[in-house]
């Protein structure tokens, strides 16, 4: 198979196509996923290929998520699309009190294999109700997995892993990644295991840990850092839960410094958990400040200018790295 240039959006499309095509017991539910192809055009013509199993729903996030739970308990794998991650607030009950608990609370009788796909993130001036990256909201929920790949190959492979996982998976697709094009080899049906981080660039001075669009920002920062003589190691978590802390620890044991980057709030965010586990496991190796880079603790403003001040950026990552080295 040759590598070809392919977009993140297309990779998700292909993974959806593979999942729907290879198992009749797979259903895809969401708003405007037919003629519109979803708000971000991901599902394109799938509704024509699988007319009975690509189902456009009413605007009822709370209940169509419940429909997914019911389908999954009766023999289907279900993929749902929540049009913007901000709207997951409406589906929280079915996710937290139902989907997440089913395997455990029913004593292992049944599982709940659903994937909740959702476009997330800011930088587009959509304002407070259409811009959030809320993956941190699900961290403390036992039973769910959280996946947020940053590369085209991972988008494909992690998505398939999510589909074939027997647990509810929150699958975060950053809006700014959809148009990302990469040379990728999408081997049909090839899964990328969840819970395994990826070292994107090796380096000896500092460990940068991120996921989703934060990785793209961090990549941009790498060149500037190199120009300043800083050799950073960049790790893409890919999945936040399960969290591959081993890869992070191995890196920090080498670099002695940790910078976490996330688009959500720092307070109560992913970085806090990563940093905390690092401390618990390799405090002795730390010889720089641990720095968390993320969203300021305010809602996301609509003004593009203001939004830039609130969300993390290449600049704030570089600043964070330097702060960690300055100690």
């Amino acid at each position: 198979m040759r590598k070809e240039k392919i977009s993140y959006r297309k990779a998700i499309y292909k993974a959806l196509d593979y999942a729907l095509g290879s198992d009749e017991k797979t259903v895809f539910l969401g708003e405007d996923i037919s003629a519109y192809g979803g708000a971000f055009g991901v599902s394109a013509d799938l509704y024509k290929k699988y007319p009975t199993r690509v189902i456009s729903t009413p605007i009822s996030e709370g209940s169509f998520t419940g429909v997914a739970v019911g389908l999954s308990m009766t023999g289907y794998r279900v993929i749902t699309e929540i049009m913007f991650m901000d709207f997951m607030t409406l589906a929280m009950d079915q996710i937290i009190n139902h989907a997440a608990n089913i395997h455990y609370m029913y004593g292992g009788q049944i599982a709940c294999p659903i994937v909740v796909r959702t476009p997330a993130g800011g930088y587009r001036g959509y304002g407070p109700s259409h811009s959030k990256a809320m993956e941190n909201l699900f961290m403390s929920i036992p039973g769910v997995k959280i996946v947020a790949p940053s590369s085209v190959e991972d988008a494909y492979g992690c998505f398939l892993s999510a589909v074939y996982d027997n647990n509810p998976v929150i699958f975060v697709e950053h809006k700014l990644l959809y148009n990302l094009e990469e040379e990728a080899e999408l081997q049909s049906g090839k899964q990328v295991p969840l819970g395994k981080a990826r070292v994107i660039k090796e380096g000896g001075d500092v460990t940068i840990v991120s996921h989703s669009y934060g990785v793209a920002l961090a990549k941009e920062a790498l060149a500037d850092l190199e120009a300043d003589g800083i050799d950073a190691e960049l790790i893409d978590l890919r999945s936040i839960k399960p969290l591959d802390i081993e890869t992070v620890i191995e890196s920090v044991s080498k670099t002695g410094r940790l910078v976490t980057v996330e688009e959500g709030s720092i307070f109560g965010g992913v970085g806090a958990e990563v940093a905390c586990q690092v401390i618990e496991n390799c405090l002795q190796y730390i010889d720089g400040r641990i720095v968390r880079v993320g969203k300021a603790d305010v809602p996301i403003p609509a003004s593009l200018t203001a939004e830039r001040f609130v969300l993390p950026s290449k600049g704030s990552i570089i600043e964070g790295v330097k702060k960690s080295l300055s100690w």
Partner: protein
């Protein structure tokens, strides 16, 4: 409808619930419970009209539905007692009691939480081209949750094989339906979605059965969703501690006149004697007591059991084949 079978089921439910009540009053059970004493006719009437492979989604007040569906009361007791022999290994308890082998998709601790799940089961049936149906119990109080509206709408537009059964016992905890709804009937609300509905006497198992039978068949043949509103009453309090300040003892007494069990006995007396009825009663009572004794002698979960299982493994064989 086999009136004797129905009577036995209803009696089992009654005695089971009374035993649970007694256990709570003695502090022998943890958590809370919601008894369906007084509402047995809806459980046996509805479930008695279904097939074994029909799905049921139940509520916080679900022991009756589960017993009517054929569950082993020992295993229900085990579950309530938090024993590893329970249907859910003691993890679910009264409000999260699922029995997949009976197609019983769970009681539900979230008021209104089961409605969309039932719609999902119905969609599954439709997609698979099966001729079973999904039945969703809910209380009149739950009909004020948004999930009610959303689920009925989806059931309606997708023409799902689902029967919504509202057990309207007039109260949601302490709240009288007439204080939180303009009309006394939930059935009215189905009209918005073009879903046909009937209002029936929920204290009469026979009426419940006949209506369900007829409607369920129609649904099974592709007729789309329907709603039954069964007017009923819980004789007990809402949950384990409830002084019932929100209603009068007179109202309660009036409803107790409609107790479904004596009504069934009256019918039964046409075929068997009072003495035979007493024998049945004693034997069922004994079997409930026995079930409890067996259950209580079971084992508590160990620490590993408590800590494992939040995630299903890939290799876990799932009964419904959804690997």
């Amino acid at each position: 409808m086999d009136i004797l079978e129905f009577y036995k089921k209803a009696l089992t439910i009654r005695f089971f619930e009374e035993k649970v009540d007694w256990l709570f009053s003695r502090g022998l059970l943890g958590g809370t419970t919601h008894l369906c004493i007084g509402q047995e006719a809806t459980a046996v009437g509805v479930v008695g009209a279904l097939r074994q492979d029909d799905y049921i989604v139940s509520t916080h007040r679900g022991h009756g539905h589960l017993i009517a569906k054929g569950a082993d009361i020992t295993k229900i007791f085990s579950e309530l007692l938090g024993k590893r022999e329970g249907y859910c290994k003691g993890r679910g308890g009264t409000q999260h009691l699922c029995v997949m082998e009976l197609n019983f998709l769970g009681t539900n601790g979230i008021t209104g939480g089961g409605l969309p799940i039932a719609a999902g089961a119905a969609l599954s049936i439709k997609l698979s081209g099966e001729d079973r149906i999904a039945v969703c119990f809910f209380g009149e109080g739950a009909s004020n949750q948004g999930t009610f509206h959303e689920s009925l709408n989806m059931a309606s537009i997708w023409n799902l094989p689902i029967l919504f059964v509202c057990e309207n016992n007039m109260y949601a905890m302490s709240t009288r339906f007439s204080d939180i709804s303009k009309f006394d009937d939930v059935a009215l609300r189905a009209a918005s979605f073009g879903i046909p509905s009937v209002i029936i006497d929920g204290m009469d198992a026979g009426r419940v059965f006949e209506n369900t039978k007829k409607i369920a068949e129609k649904i099974r043949q592709g007729g789309g969703p329907a709603l039954i509103e069964a007017k009923t009453y819980r004789f007990c309090g809402h949950s384990k501690s409830d002084a019932r300040l929100y209603r009068t003892r007179e109202e309660e007494a009036a409803w107790k006149q409609k107790d479904p069990l004596p009504k069934m006995e009256l019918k039964l007396l046409e075929v068997i004697s009072q003495g035979e009825i007493e024998v049945i009663k004693r034997s069922i009572k004994a079997s409930v007591d026995d079930a409890y004794e067996v259950a209580v002698a079971g084992e508590d979960p160990g620490v590993e059991e408590a800590l494992e299982g939040a995630y299903a493994q890939r290799e876990d064989l799932l009964p419904q084949g959804n690997i």
